[in-house]
Symmetry: C2
Subunit: 171 residues, 2 copies
C-alpha cells in the first residue's frame, strides 16, 4: 500500500491548477450507489426520474462527489503526502448528472498556510470544479486538505503566523 | 417506487428536530467504499491507518456523508416531497470514523423560504449532526433541501418575498 510521495505541502502553492482526468457514469452505477446510500425515487428508477424536476434518472449528489474524490486520489493525492481533510465550504450541485455523462475535474489551489499545532503538516484550500461533456459545470466546492511537509515549520514561520493572526484580531 | 407523502414544505418549520436513527459501520464496508471512491492508504489498509495521524483504519469522509444521507432518506425524505438539493455549506469532518463505530444522525431545520421561480417548491436549510457511540460529533453540515409544497405560493407570499429582498438590498 506504500506509494512514492512526489508532492509535499511546499509544492502546493496558490494558483496551481491540475486537471484530474475524467470518468463516465452509467445508469447501473447511478442506481447501485443510490440504492445503497440515497434511495430517492429519481436516483433509482428511470420512470420516477422522468416524472421528477430532473426529467431523467440522475445521480445522487454524493455519488458525484465520490467520483470527484476518486479522480483526485487517482490523479493527485496518491502521489502526495495527503493526510485527509477537515471539511469543505460552499458545495454546489449545479446541474444534474445523467447516465452516460462524462465528467472531468479541475482542481485549483487557492490558499496555503502552515498549521500551528502540527509543524509537520500544512493546510491548503482548493476549488474543485467538475464539468460534463457539454462543458456545463455540475459540481463546485471549496475543500481543505492537510498535507505532510517536506520540512517542519521554522520558528520564524510560526512567529510570522502569530503576527498575522494578531493583525487579524486587531481588525 | 411510489411512496406516500407525509411531509410537504409547509410541514418543515424552523426549529423542527428529527432523530434519523443509527448505523454501525464495519471495516469491510470502510474498505469497500474507499476502494471504489477514496483509495487513500489510511482508508483501505489497517497497517497504513495505524501509521497515519488517525491511528487506525478510518472511513472516507464521503462514506460518512453517504451514511448520513442513507439515514435521512430512510427516516425522513422518502416520506416527504423531497426534490433534491442544490448544495450545502460548512461541511466538517470533526472526528475520524473507525470500524465498529455506531453513528446516529440529528437533523434540525433552521430556515425555510419559498422559491421565487417555482411557486410549487419551497427551500429549507437544515443542520446535520452525526455523533458516534461516545457522543463525539463526527460530522456537521448545513444542507439545503427542496421540497414540493402542499399548495403553491400565493401572490401575497411572493409580494412579501419581494419586500424582504428589497429590505435586504437596502441594508
Amino acid at each position: 500500500m506504500s506509494h512514492e510521495i512526489k508532492y509535499y505541502w511546499e509544492d502546493l502553492a496558490p494558483g496551481l491548477v491540475r486537471e484530474m482526468g475524467g470518468v463516465t457514469v452509467s445508469a447501473q452505477e447511478i442506481k447501485e450507489f443510490a440504492g445503497q446510500f440515497d434511495p430517492q425515487p429519481f436516483h433509482i428508477d428511470e420512470a420516477a426520474g422522468r416524472r421528477s424536476i430532473y426529467g431523467n434518472l440522475c445521480a445522487s449528489g454524493w455519488h458525484t462527489c465520490a467520483l470527484a474524490m476518486r479522480l483526485t486520489v487517482q490523479n493527485f493525492l496518491n502521489e502526495s503526502s495527503s493526510m485527509g481533510s477537515p471539511g469543505l465550504e460552499a458545495l454546489r450541485w449545479l446541474k444534474p448528472v445523467y447516465p452516460g455523462d462524462t465528467l472531468r475535474l479541475q482542481y485549483k489551489i487557492t490558499e496555503s498556510r502552515p498549521m500551528r499545532k502540527r509543524r509537520d503538516i500544512g493546510m491548503v484550500r482548493a476549488t474543485w470544479e467538475m464539468f460534463n461533456q457539454n462543458d456545463e459545470k455540475v459540481l463546485q466546492m471549496e475543500g481543505y486538505g492537510m498535507f505532510g511537509r517536506r520540512t517542519p515549520a521554522t520558528p520564524e514561520e510560526i512567529a510570522r503566523m502569530d503576527l498575522e493572526s494578531t493583525k487579524d484580531a486587531a481588525r
